[in-house]
Structure formats: structure tokens, C-alpha cells
Symmetry: D3
């Protein structure tokens, strides 16, 4: 079973020098997580070593409940790996199950917003919050769902530079205003969405997705959560050019 | 069964004049919600009329699932009313159930943070985001759990003015920085919590509660969610003076 | 005669632990202020002990001038207590008298703005500046003048969530913009007020009240000024429900 | 007697084109103020025409009270002109008298801060708030009191670029933080002043001056108050080079 | 010769719907630029159609000066294409030549900063400014120079999440502070660089590169400059995995 | 030949006390620059001593190239002095030459913007960035080119308070928005300029000048660059009053 561990050697990954302050000593029993099982399914090579370090917190993985064991297995089958955010929550089954239930309902259940549109909101919100984990993981999702590698970059860098439908632009404007200054959101903002052909239920869904990523961006930033390296190379070729 | 409806007459509640623009006509089938059942349990009088208007969105209440019907009943027994946020989510049972599961785990499950401390984080985050719903509902919770009506005001107005333990202050500083500029949260911030006697698990819990209210603040602001009026008068007398 | 003193024991009022750093020693002549005289007039009990600590500065109270002695006496008669801000200024009679003269002119003299509207501006400005003293003291004034305990909370939490007349909303928008980014206030902002039926004299009064609380918010924050505890419980019951 | 009037021709003073929108018609009784009396005392020529337009508000000047008439006369004798801010307040004697009393106490009464230091705080605060009136009028005061025309520019442009004593720097840092984010001012900030040799009374005075200019900056911005043109040329030569 | 043109059909590239307002008619003489010459050298296919639309401004390309013609030819040889920023400046030879001279000196001339470090500064600054053009073009440069596709993403998303040497971190902190609030940069900031082993000349170079991208970010944003599509796919595979 | 040096005695120029921390020792070879040659041409006296200290960085002046020697000579003839920014860049001829080429093209070459308008943009941008060097040097340029000493102050203090043509106001609004939040600049902003009679080439020029000062403001702030003292007294008398 996966165990989120924390190999402090990661700290020097991109640097020439050691960190300025020695990290406080901890018990030596941590080993790098056996990420091997996921690796074979990842096109392009083994999971990188630092996929075994998921957060800056030392939290013992709990035994997976049967439902979560099945869910992790399904991730491995469909994605080739278990997203690190799930491993990060796996120290406590009720927390993991609540997160998975809310995530799957928001991002996958029927909605007036397409799955791509929900991922676009996720990335535009995460860009405002400069959340490394969510930008990497959901940027890849935008590239995959759209078949357009440029669209993923636009959402991550500045959604205002993208050429979008009026409805999509209104969605993202609402989601980002709600992220930046929620206290300023008023009836006029909702009316703007309604004029762009959003139903009241669509407004709820935009708010709920934007709200959810305002939560996960903060959990990820607070814990220095690291995305699986495999995301970086995913869907970098336009769908039209893939063979 | 309660049905969240939207009585546009609310718009003139605190005003002398009519709203500037007429609201667009909608189907006439809306009725004011029969809030009578809650009323008797509320000390001081019937639930105010505008407790029947919960959000600015028109969403039909769905039939409550058995689990949620039982949960609403439990709210009525213990609180004397069903918090409006639950009614707002009640247009869709999977959403309501996911929300309730996550909320109860975060705020009520065992944790290194007391229930009061979790509510203090909720209010300090909501104060940064100037979220009317959450300030009213969770401000009341701080007053009740602490028996100190002044502490609730301090959390809602400026937590920096409160006299807190060093550990509580560190928690709130972390939660509010995570709210205001999550991209700036780094190892030094986590170390500050560890030095204030927070375990890594406590850090997760602080982040998770702060993250959760960053979500709900935005859902509430996006939908103009209204708190039950009964909160306003709750626990305004110091516990030491209550007979 | 009251003497503003500074009982450092206040520091531990809401905390479990002692402050991190010992406060530097000071001369021992400070005594807790004899707040007894106010107490009887306060409904609900004696003035709390920490009403005797008014600011974080050690300033010796000066003898009250005859005019100020009469004014303090009038406060006790009408309010049941002397507002702490007056005691804070009482180390210097010219400063106290100038403050009282300006305050009374602005908040009580004839104006196109009602007294309630002036208090609403005071609270909305203080909310932007997150000033604990002014939110507590003037939040109570809004509750009392309006007979509406909810309106006080709305002004303190987020005035944009309140249902107001167009004129009142325009006043508060102007006052808060003037608070947040005074350099952006221009003719278009004044025209918006004029269109909402404000005269040029009303514009002056809105600006003067907003400006005044931008001053007092800062004096209060700079000195950690503490409001009288009695404010917290005032006017928490709707006027319509009072017997 | 001076009468603050409002000559709309000012609007085109620095422009080639007429304003975009015609200004609404008003009663024809406005006359340009007879600024002649001040003129002779102004070195370098007559008061510029637009000194007769003081604010964007139409407020009838009230008859000066005897005290205020004497004060205006004293201004003319000592300065050669009446500062426009006084004329702006002159529509109402109680307001003018309260303003003058507070201003004179703060800026001229005995204090641990020199008059120059109080003016430096005034300008640094006004620079943060980008208040044209106060930067012009008090920038001139810094140049005059210091005999150093460069110091005035430094305060108006970026006080951080000035070479100051540690105590002066601490004063301005406190005053500007109090201006920018008063909710963040805490005991540590006061301690920093105490370590820079400020007494508690000095802290009050710094706060009171900073607070006062946070008020007047806003009244000036709200009313588009215009400084007397004579300020611009004052004290532009270093004191050491004057003959 | 290349001519920067502006094919308005781009506007619908990522959208389902037409833009809300029709664009004003313009002279019909624009032709799509003959991008064919670059195309063969681009791995993975012809230059995308929208590489022919470079900015939102209609500026006629000027004849290339001999020096610039040679420089463009060199770009085609070495990169396989002419970066769009050069085409954007090509309406005026003195502007193009000044830009090229400054750019090449800053990014390629000898310096205590490696070329990679200068590109890292470029991307971190562009991330603060959310500049789509510079993030795409210089993000690719970071990936290529480092052989590390993840490092490019980290710089574009949140440099604080990267594991860097203390010196590199100090460089980026200085560059981003200088970008966000240049008025706050003082001797203490320079001392921090010196302590991280930066010479005074290094400080100049950090400031000059950060300054330059603060310029180009704004020219790109002001003109809606579009990066060559070929950048998106460049160097997405770690150098260690390339055959 | 001028040599930018760094006389640390400057540090006490405006202060009573010595700097808090001793500056680290450096090699003793620095001499004060022989500023005498410029001095005679400066009306009002010799160049002040602290014109010899130009930045906080120790960079050895390089021998001037023939082109730059001629350019410096031309500055002395026409201005009476060499602007300090040029001396600051003179440690490296390619950097100096690239800076001079770009500066002269932007500010002096033919354009739809007058030289005064370009200087107004320079000062409004520098005011947003609170750049002491650029405000002093280009504020003087606005005064000289306009013959209006007040206009220079308005640009430096708050351009919104100036009475400008609609076209000039649109230019400055665009330049300052591009400075403050370049990521928000979109087609609607360009359309606003076009409606105010700006051609697409004018838009480029506004963006290029605004961009350039966003660069130089940061180089100046990063290095604590000091303007020549002679600027302060220049053009303080209205052109109409000069004999």
C-alpha cells in the first residue's frame, strides 16, 4: 500500500547548494514510497523519484478502506497512477472519502457546464492563487479534454488572453472575481452570467467549482503538495496532430 | 418538507426605496417556505419572514434522502432550526451529502484543535473574505463554544486585536495568510506553527478548515446566501452572567 | 475622576498562556480606574474589569476642564458610562476638546444625512479598516438608532450584503471608495451621488464623516484602544420585539 | 469677505479640449472670488485666477465669525494668503472652527515631535494617499521648515529614498503603515518606535498627525480641493543659498 | 519578407461563438504572412495559421535593414523561426534595432548570472505580470537551457515552489519584489543579495533583466502579442530521457 | 572623465544621526567624482556634492566610447550637466549605448505623441511606481516642455487631478493601468484609445514609453539611483512670468 512519505533530500532537487538551515532531525524509519506499481503504466518511463514525496507534512498513511482501495485501483487502471492529492489525504479515510465524494460530484456529475469548462474554471482559479499542484494536474486535464495544448497554457498563464465564447469568458470572469474579491460579488455579477446563457443551476456549479479549488489550492499550498511528474508531459501534442 | 424559495420582496427589507431596476419576471409558482416548524424552538419569537429566502438563485428543493431527512430532523431538535446553508444545498442530494460529510468531519471529528479553535479559524477566514453568511453563523458558534460574546466579535472584526495564546495566534496567522496570499505560504510558515506546538497533523487540520471556509465563503457570496436570523441574538450574554 | 490606566493583566484576558515577551517594567503608581460610578447605570451588570484599560499607551490623565467635566457627566447620565475614546483623549484638554467639538458637529449637528446614516458610514468605513474599537462602539449605535440589530451586523461585516435605498448605497459606496483608494475619487463619483439625490452639502457631509472615521480608526488602531464592554450587549433585540 | 466659489472655466485649464460632458446648469449667482486682497502680499505676482476655484462643490460661504475673521486676517499677514482649505470649510463656522482648533493643536502645540517632523508625517501620509492638495501645501511647509527643497520632494515622492535619522524613519514607517493597513498595527510596531526613542506621548502624536491627514486627504480628494498656486514656487532654493 | 498582419479570424480560435461586438472594418490589403520559410525547420509540422497574427495593432512592416535581415536569417537558421516579438517591432527599424541590441546584451553577454538564471528571472517576472507571450517564449527557454521541463513550469507557476540554491532564490525574490513594489526596494534588499554571494555587478544585472521584462511584459500585454506556437512543444522531455 | 563613485558620507545627508549599522568596509580607492566641469553651466551654483554619488552599487566607470564621449559632451553643452542615469550605465559601454539608443528613439523620434505627452506618461508611470529618480528628472522635463510648473507637480502627485484633454487623459489611464495591472489590459482598453483619436501606432508608442519607464523605474529603485540636484530648481516659474 502506498504511504506518503517525505524524503528531505528532495529539497536539493533543483539547486546547487544545500538549504540554508538544516532540517530538524526526524525518525529514520521513513523510506521512499514504493511507487513501482504505478510506474509501468506511465508512458515514457518510471515514475520519478520525487513522486514519492508528496507533502511537507509527516502523516502516516492509514489502511485504505475497501471503497478507497477500489478507487485507487481504478485510478491506476484508467490513469496509470494515483494522483498525489489522493495519497496526501490517505492518512485518514473519512477525510479521503469526503474529498473524493465532493470532487467526483463537482467535476464529473451531470451539469450545464461541460467537464472541460469545469477544468477551465479549476485552472483559472488556481492561476489566480498560483497553486503549483493544481496548475500542473488540472492544466493537463484541460489539454487532454480539449485536445488543445495551447488552451491549457492560456488558462494557467492568463485566461484573459484566450479566445473564448462569451459564455465561457463570463464563467471565468465570475470565478476569478469570486476568487479575488468574493465580497464584491453581487446581483449584477449573477445577471451578467444569466445574460450569457447561464441558468441559476449553472451559476451554482460555477461557484461550487470555483469554491472547491479555492479550498484545494490552499490545502496544497499549506502542505507543499507535489503533483505527479507524469502530468508534465501529458497531451502536449494537439489532438489534430496525434496519430 | 422545507423548500428553499426566494421571495423577492426581501429586496426592500432594509430600504426605503424600491430597487433601481425591476427584477425580471419569473414563474409564479414560488411560495414562501413554511418555516413554521422551526419557529417554536427559537427563543424570542417566530423565525423572521426572510429566513424563507435563502439565496439569490432559483433552485427547486429536491426530496430529502432518508439520511438527510434524519439529519435535518436532528438539526431541528438540537438547534431549533435547520441552518440555511443546508437548505441551500438541498436542491441536490449528492451535493448536500458531500457537503455535510466534509463539514462534520472537519468541524466535529477528533483533532488536535478544539472545536472552538476550529470555529475561530472559520470566523477569522470569513472576516478576511467579508462573508456575511459565515460571519453570522460561525460568529454565533464562537460565542456559544467560548461563552464569551466578545471573542466572537473580535474574530469577526479583527482577530489581531484579541488576546490569544501564542498557539492560537499562530494558527490564525497561518489561516489568514493562507487565505490572503496562499502562494506565499512556505516551509517557514509551517515551522512557525511547529514552534507554537502544532503537530504536522494540526497543520493539516488548520489548512483544511481554512481551505473549507475559503470554499463556503465563496459559495455563500456567489449566491447571496442569508443566515437564519436566529443566530444574531444567540449567546450575547457572557456565560458567567447567565442564570 | 476617571483616569485612563493600563492594567497589563488584560493581556491574558482571552488567552491560556502568558504573552511571549515580558512587558517592560513601569512605575508602580498606576491603579485600576474606579469605574464604579458608571456601573450602576449599565443594564446587565457592573462595567467589566478591562474597561479600566483603554489603550496600550501610558498617558497620565489630565484634570478635566470644567467643560469636559460637564460633558463626561452628561455621558454618564445619558449613556450610563463615558465612552473610552474620551478617556483616551483625556490626557490633554485641548486635544479632548477639539475631538469632542468635531465629533459632535459631524455626528449630531443638522445635516441632510440622518444620524443613522452618519453612523452607517462610520461603521462601513471602520469595517474596511477593520477597526475593533469603532466597529464595536458605532455598530451599537447603528443597532440603537435603527432598532434593527441585523443592520448593525451588515454594516460591520459587509455593507454590500444589506438591502438599502439607492441613496444609502451610493453614500456607502462613495465613503468606502474614499477610504480604500481616495486618489481615484473624481467628478464621476460626485455625479453618482448627485443622481442619487445628494446635494453638494450632503457630499461634503459624507466625505467629512468618512474622513473623520479614517482618522479615528487609525488613532484607535495605533493605540490598541478598547471599547467599553457594555456596547456588546446593547440593542441586540429588534425594536419591534422589545417590550 | 472671501467666498469660495466655483468657476467652471477652470475645467479646461490644462487641456486642449472641452470636457466630455457639459456640466449641469446652475444658478447664475456665482461670482469669482475677489482674491485681490491676498494678491499684493504674494511674492511673484497676483494670485492666479484659479485660486478662486477651491472645490468641486457649490457651497455658499457663511459670514466669518469674529474669531475666524481674525484668524483669516492673521493668515494674510503671516502667509500673504488664506489657505484654500480654510476657505473650503468656511461655508459653516462650527466646522471651520473645529478644523482650525484641531489643526493648530496637532501641528503647532508643544510636542516631542518638531514642527518639521509633523509636516514630514503629513507629506508621507499624503503621498501614500496621492492627495494633490496636501502634497502641494505641506510639501511647501517641509521645504520652508527644513530649508531643504530636496527633502520636500523626497517626502512627496518616496520617503524611503530619504536619508533620515533612525527615529524619523521609524516615525514615517509607523505613520505610513497606519495609513496603508491600520488593521496590522500592533504592539510590535509601538515597540519599534519606543526603541527609536519615542515616548508613549510621541506615539500618540505620530498617530494623531497621521490620522488627521488621513482625514484631510479624503476631504480634499472627495471635493477636488485645489491648493493656492503660490505654494508651488515657495522655498525652492536651499536655505544655504538664499541671500 | 515577413509582415506582421492581423487575421481577425483568430478571434474565434478557441471559441464556439462569435465575439460580442463586430470589429470595425479595416482596409482589405492585409494578407496572411507567408510563414512557409520557417515551417520546414519546425519539428512536428508547419507553423500554425495563427502565427501569422502577431499583435492586435495594425502596423505595416517596414523593409528590414541589412543588419536586421541578417539577424532574422540567423534566427531561422538557429531556431527554425523568427520570434514573433521581433516581427512585432519590425514596423520600424530603429525600434527593432534598439530592442535587439538591448535584449542580446542583457540575455547573452557575459555576466555573473548564467543564461539559465537570466531566463529564470525573465519567467518569474513574467509570471507576476501574467504575461502570456513572455511566459510561453521564455518558459521554453528555461526548459531548454536546464534540460528540466519541470523547472520551466515552476518558474511560470510559482517560483517559490521550486527547490533552488539560496543564491537563485535570493535573485528571484529580489526580481519579483522589484516587480511588485519597486518603491520598497532598499539597502537591506541589496544586502540580502550580497550575503547570497552576488556582487554589485550581479545586482545590476538582476535589476536590468527584471526591469527589461517589466518593459516587454507591458508592450506584449498592451498589444496582445502572440507567441509562435512552436514554443509550446519545445523541450517537454527531460534532457536525461532524450535519445 | 566622470566616474560614478559612491561616497558613503551621503548617508547622513538629511539625518541627525549616523546610520544604524556601519557599512561594510571597502577598498579605499574611491574618489569623489570631479563634477566641476558641469558646474559652471548650472544656474544657481556649483553641482552639489552628492551629485557625485549616483547609485548604491560600486561599479567602476569604463572608458567612454567615442560615440558616448561625444554624447556626454553634447549633454554638457545643451543641459549643462550629464544626467546621472547615463553615468550610472557608464560602467559598460554596450549597456550605455543600448540604453541611449532606446531612450532617444522613444522620447525624441517622430511620433503621434508630442514630446511633452511622452514626458507626461513617463512621470505618471513613475508616480505609480514611486520612483524618486524618474520623478525628479522627468518632472523637470514636464515643467520645461509645458512652461507650466503646476503640470509637472500634477503628473508627479496624481495625474487624475489634472485638467487634461480627453485624449491625454485616455493615454495616461492606459499607461497607468498597464503599469498597475498589465494582465488586465485588453481590446476594450485599446478601443478606448482609438475612440480618443489615437492611431494604432500611437497605441504602440504609449505602450513603449510606459514600458520603458517601468524598466527604468526598477533599475533606479534597485540601485538607489540619485538624480542630479540641479533638476529640483528647474522651470519652477511659469513660462508666462519669465522675463
Amino acid at each position: 500500500m502506498e504511504k506518503p512519505t517525505r524524503d528531505r533530500t528532495r529539497k536539493a532537487a533543483h539547486g546547487r547548494a544545500a538549504p540554508a538551515k538544516p532540517l530538524r532531525a526526524r525518525s529514520g524509519s521513513r523510506r521512499t514510497a514504493p511507487a513501482r506499481k504505478e510506474a509501468p503504466a506511465v508512458p515514457g518511463g518510471a515514475a520519478a523519484a520525487d513522486d514519492t514525496v508528496i507533502t511537507a507534512l509527516e502523516l502516516e498513511a492509514a489502511p485504505l478502506s475497501p471503497a478507497m482501495a477500489a478507487y485507487f485501483e481504478k485510478c491506476r487502471e484508467k490513469l496509470g497512477f494515483v494522483p498525489n492529492v489522493l495519497k496526501a489525504y490517505a492518512f485518514d479515510m473519512p477525510k479521503l472519502e469526503a474529498f473524493v465524494a465532493m470532487y467526483n460530484d463537482l467535476m464529473l456529475a451531470p451539469s450545464g457546464l461541460s467537464k472541460l469548462e469545469r477544468e477551465m474554471i479549476a485552472v483559472a482559479v488556481s492561476s489566480h492563487n498560483r497553486c503549483y499542484y493544481c496548475l500542473v494536474a488540472h492544466g493537463a486535464a484541460v489539454r487532454q479534454l480539449s485536445g488543445d495544448p495551447v488552451l491549457g497554457e492560456l488558462m494557467a498563464m492568463n485566461y484573459r488572453a484566450a479566445k473564448l465564447t462569451r459564455r465561457q469568458r463570463a464563467m471565468l470572469d465570475f470565478a476569478v472575481k469570486l476568487t479575488a474579491e468574493p465580497w464584491q460579488v453581487e446581483e449584477a455579477d449573477r445577471e451578467r452570467l444569466r445574460k450569457a446563457k447561464c441558468s441559476d443551476r449553472d451559476i451554482w456549479d460555477i461557484a461550487a467549482v470555483a469554491g472547491f479549488f479555492n479550498m484545494t489550492n490552499r490545502v496544497a499550498s499549506a502542505t507543499d503538495m507535489r503533483p505527479n511528474r507524469v502530468y508534465h508531459g501529458q497531451a502536449r501534442t494537439p489532438a489534430t496532430e496525434r496519430s
